[in-house]
């Protein structure tokens, strides 16, 4: 995007003014739990289950990682984290997937389910592992394209060659 992300005035003009630039949007689904997904009825129950399982597996790979549980809880709240090997990671707060119309039928299918998280600094706002905010609403929605960009995390094979250190910079919500 070659333009400002927002334009705003606080003094000039007759009243404060605020406008956000929107990225290109693509159809997706966001749900906080598999049960919510099933209740919504847009997708088959098995589809909801599969998507949440997939997102949960992805979460182990791509969710932010912390060396200290306290650092993770500072961002995601008490009981907001769980151990994964030597690290701590936030619990999944939801799932985001692309929805596509399947050919020949009038139904949607899901692609690339991914985990969503919720930071203590901005309750209710769901974010991807890449820290892209996708909103507070759930259901079948248009989602801004950056949310769908894949996260690359390298396969770590060893650690500590330079002495004690924190992994990953602190995750910043908001």
């Amino acid at each position: 995007m070659k333009r400002s992300s927002r334009a705003s005035l606080v003094l000039l003009g007759s009243a404060p003014f605020w406008m956000l630039a929107c990225e290109k949007q693509e159809p997706g689904v966001i749900y906080r739990t598999a049960e919510e997904c099933k209740r919504a009825g847009h997708l088959a129950p098995e589809e909801c289950e599969r998507a949440f399982e997939w997102a949960s597996d992805e979460s182990e790979r791509i969710a932010p990682r912390y060396a200290q549980e306290s650092d993770c809880e500072a961002d995601f709240g008490a009981f907001g984290c769980h151990p994964n090997g030597p690290y701590f990671q936030p619990r999944m707060a939801g799932m985001l997937a692309r929805s596509i119309l399947t050919s020949g039928r009038d139904s949607t299918a899901l692609r690339n389910p991914q985990p969503l998280f919720e930071s203590t600094r901005e309750r209710g706002m769901l974010r991807t592992a890449g820290n892209v905010a996708v909103g507070r609403q759930t259901g079948a929605l248009d989602v801004e394209a950056p949310a769908f960009r894949p996260i690359q995390r390298a396969q770590v094979i060893s650690r500590g060659g330079f002495g004690p250190e924190a992994m990953d910079s602190r995750w910043v919500g908001g």
Partner: protein, 383 residues
């Protein structure tokens, strides 16, 4: 690059007035004009405009670096000797610069050609940074432009980042109050500075006072730490308070070293240093009373809005604009006619904020000389 006819938003004038754009139609004549817009591809923007702007900016700074060390250059730039030390210390302190606008001729096929640098008091900032951005987002939201349309315009973001760096300090914003456009521009910058967390204040320039120890104060008799002025340096240095500038603790934006770039002799020096550069036009210091050969334009060192320009067209005919700058030294620049899109001739204004190319503002005219009555037309990027 295309000129598209656009549908005007029905209430745009009311919107403009609510957003502080009181000068959208001075004297009732159109200035902001959304009946049309220019369309570029992303490649045109990045390859033909953004990258050359960055390069030309670096060349301009290189010229300043050389000029502060070389008295001959300062003389050729017609900078009074009395100001040389003041200029030098401003540059050596690395007094930071906020913005500038380059005027380019560009028709979509490249390379863009630099006419001149407006690096001290560039106009059309509000329209370029803010109002054309709002225009784009409203048309996108209304479905009148496709969802993936873009604009080369991160000027407001970059201005805010600039103020956040300068930041926390008290900044005064000053100009004369007689011009809606000038006062609207400083009010807009003050607004951004406040959003960036600075303590910004508007100050009419005639309200600036002087203390017994020769420091500048505002209309509440409080010291002025940083002063953004929309007022040309060459005029400021002729004012009664000019003698106190040298020893003032006030930091000025734009800094005084910009004086080196704010006259057209700098274009002759750039050509001398970078002859044949694809984005420069041949330019030489000239003599006023000699005949102007066909295919050349004569301009005074310090002039604005096309005043006192002479154009010798290739067919030998002469175009002349009157003005108050008739007695200044002049340069001669190779004629690069503005591109034609129907009956219109656009000049591409390419903005620098800090040291980064930040966006475009396009003005078009019915004639070959962009003057005060030219109109601001928005643009889009769409492949």
């Amino acid at each position: 690059m295309h000129r598209l006819v656009c549908r005007e938003r029905p209430n745009w004038k009311e919107l403009a007035e609510n957003l502080g754009f009181s000068f959208h139609s001075p004297d009732g004549l159109p200035y902001w004009d959304e009946s049309a817009c220019y369309q570029f591809t992303l490649e045109q923007i990045e390859e033909h405009l953004e990258a050359p702007t960055q390069e030309l900016h670096a060349m301009a700074l290189g010229l300043v670096e050389d000029a502060v060390r070389d008295e001959q250059l300062l003389e050729r730039l017609a900078i009074p000797r009395a100001h040389w030390d003041y200029l030098r210390s401003s540059w050596q302190r690395r007094d930071s610069a906020m913005y500038g606008r380059m005027d380019l001729s560009y028709d979509g096929r490249g390379p863009a050609k630099l006419y001149e640098l407006n690096y001290d008091t560039p106009t059309s900032l509000y329209e370029s940074a803010f109002f054309q951005w709002v225009w784009l987002e409203q048309l996108r939201a209304a479905g009148e432009l496709p969802g993936d349309v873009d604009q080369f315009n991160s000027i407001q973001d970059k201005l805010e980042a600039y103020f956040a760096r300068v930041g926390g300090t008290r900044i005064h914003f000053t100009s004369t109050t007689g011009s809606d456009e000038d006062w609207g521009t400083v009010a807009y910058l003050c607004d951004i500075a406040r959003q960036a967390g600075c303590d910004g204040h508007l100050l009419p320039i005639e309200q600036i006072g002087l203390t017994a120890d020769q420091q500048f104060v505002d209309d509440n008799d409080e010291p002025i730490q940083t002063l953004f002025k929309l007022y040309p340096w060459e005029d400021l240095l002729n004012q009664p308070y000019a003698e106190y500038l040298r020893h003032s603790t006030t930091v000025f934006l734009e800094p005084v070293w910009k004086l080196i770039l704010s006259n057209k002799a700098a274009m002759a020096l750039l050509w001398e240093r970078h002859p044949g550069h694809p984005n420069l036009l041949p330019t030489y210091v000239d003599q006023r009373d000699t005949p102007l050969p066909p295919g050349w334009v004569r301009k005074p060192f310090f002039s604005r809005e096309g005043a006192n320009i002479e154009i010798a067209q290739r067919d030998g005919s002469l175009l002349r604009v009157d003005g108050p700058y008739a007695h200044q030294p002049v340069v001669r620049q190779a004629l690069q006619p503005l591109p034609r899109f129907g009956e219109y001739h656009p000049v591409v204004g390419s903005w620098i904020v800090g040291d980064a190319a930040a966006g475009l503002g396009i003005r078009e005219d019915d004639s070959l000389i962009t003057q005060n009555r030219s109109r601001f037309v928005p643009h889009i990027i769409l492949d």
